[in-house]
């Protein structure tokens, strides 16, 4: 095949570039476009889907009540080795950053776990953040969890800033993501 020759090529190149400029202008995002931040979906850049669950102690916690705080929603199960492996680091990070507005909601995927096993694990590691019981799998389904653990880093504005599927998360990953979240706290 013959490559376009100079004169015809220059004309073609010029036309492509002019059309490119027109296309950039035509395809600009309209001001009235529905923003991702207003759509609840378990993906980075979207509003974190709201939920209410009970803790192991029976206290109700609603995610949207935590607006203004940096939240880590960690979905786990006691039988899952990477979930168990990352929990001590999450506890350590919680102790370090709790005073700066960071909170952990550890959602036990109870519908695929045994509550006594989860409670024993919490006791063993002396976890001090709220452990939520997802006994009907509502949050696990709402957040489209396909693998445990799954972690959702949510900013003070209620927007998901990062999704980490699988684990265990490296300590530095956890710290850097939390540092990113808390700097947005007014």
């Amino acid at each position: 095949m013959k490559f376009p020759q100079p004169f015809g090529a220059r004309l073609l190149y010029g036309l492509i570039l002019v059309l490119g400029i027109i296309w950039i202008k035509v395809s600009a995002v309209p001001a009235n476009t529905l923003k991702n931040e207003s759509i609840p979906s378990p993906q980075t850049g979207f509003s974190a889907p709201d939920f209410t669950l009970k803790t192991l102690e029976g206290k109700s916690i609603t995610l949207s009540d935590l607006r203004g705080k940096a939240v880590l929603v960690n979905i786990w199960a006691s039988w899952c080795p990477p979930c168990r492996a990352e929990m001590p680091d999450i506890q350590k990070a919680y102790q370090t950053y709790q005073s700066k507005g960071f909170i952990v909601l550890a959602v036990d995927s109870t519908f695929q776990d045994k509550l006594p096993d989860a409670a024993a694990f919490v006791e063993e590691l002396q976890l001090s953040f709220p452990i939520l019981v997802d006994d009907r799998g509502l949050v696990t389904k709402l957040y489209r969890v396909q693998s445990l653990p799954s972690s959702f880093f949510i900013g003070p504005d209620g927007i998901i800033k990062e999704v980490v599927i699988g684990g265990p998360m490296a300590d530095a990953l956890l710290i850097s993501r939390i540092e990113n979240l808390i700097k947005d706290i007014p």
Binding site: M1, K2, F3, P4, Q5, P6, A9, R10, Y13, I16, L17, G20, I21, W23, I24, K25, V26, S27, A28, V29, P30, A31, T33, L34, N36, I39, P40, S41, Q43, G45, F46, Q146, S147, E162, V164, I165, G166, M169, A170, D171, A172, L173, I175, S176, R177, E179
Partner: protein, 259 residues
Amino acid sequence: MLPILQIGPLALPLPALSIILAFWVGLSITEKLSPSRGLSAETMYNLAFTGLLTGLLGARLGYVFLYPKAFIQSPLSFFSLNPGLLDTSTGVVFMLLGVLIFGQLAKLPLLKTLDTLTPFLAILSIGLAISHIASGEAFGSITSLPWGIDLWGARRHPTQIYELFSSILILVVISIKFEEKSNHGTQFFLFWALMAADRLFFEAFRGDSLTIAGGLRSVQIIAWIVLFLALFILDKIQPKLKKNKREQDGQNSDQRPKS
């Protein structure tokens, strides 16, 4: 969308796997193409791996530079296999530096080498498109068109599918064998021109574009600049073709027996 393929206790991250697979396929093709272009397959293999290793090292160093506090608290995290601890832009700079230094040391001809690497880059872009299908990233804007897909709480343009088809088409186009007289670098810069044109066009259907003043999409502006540069270089390369042809025609007429 299938970010994780669960096989028993094994959780396979499909987005990362598709990129690794594309890297392997691309590298195998480069190894096969190299001898026909007068380059050593082993050198090209080493070049690709140097790029990969310096890229990964740079990406990790860049991340450490961005979040030093995290690594002071946990120094061993430097060696973590977690891809979340990588800074892409620093990685790209280090990769380019690594490849350039290796190329200089191995005395590789620049344009010929870039042409040989072009199918590798095209296959990597197909791998990236597949990884976007698996992860649901690079998603489209909201649409009511019949081929829209339900993703992230709305019916959206299937931009990941557009990306896959256009990447395959680009691979087909750059695989067309241009006349042997085409100058070195044509295949490489044609690839970048096509990639830039592709991003310029399809970015318009994305639902995650970063915008600047007036809602203009920043990726489109960068793509236009890349397109301009690639076309400019293609234009600069091609007149030589005409000149070369004239010179060759001249040589042929000199060699013709005089009657």
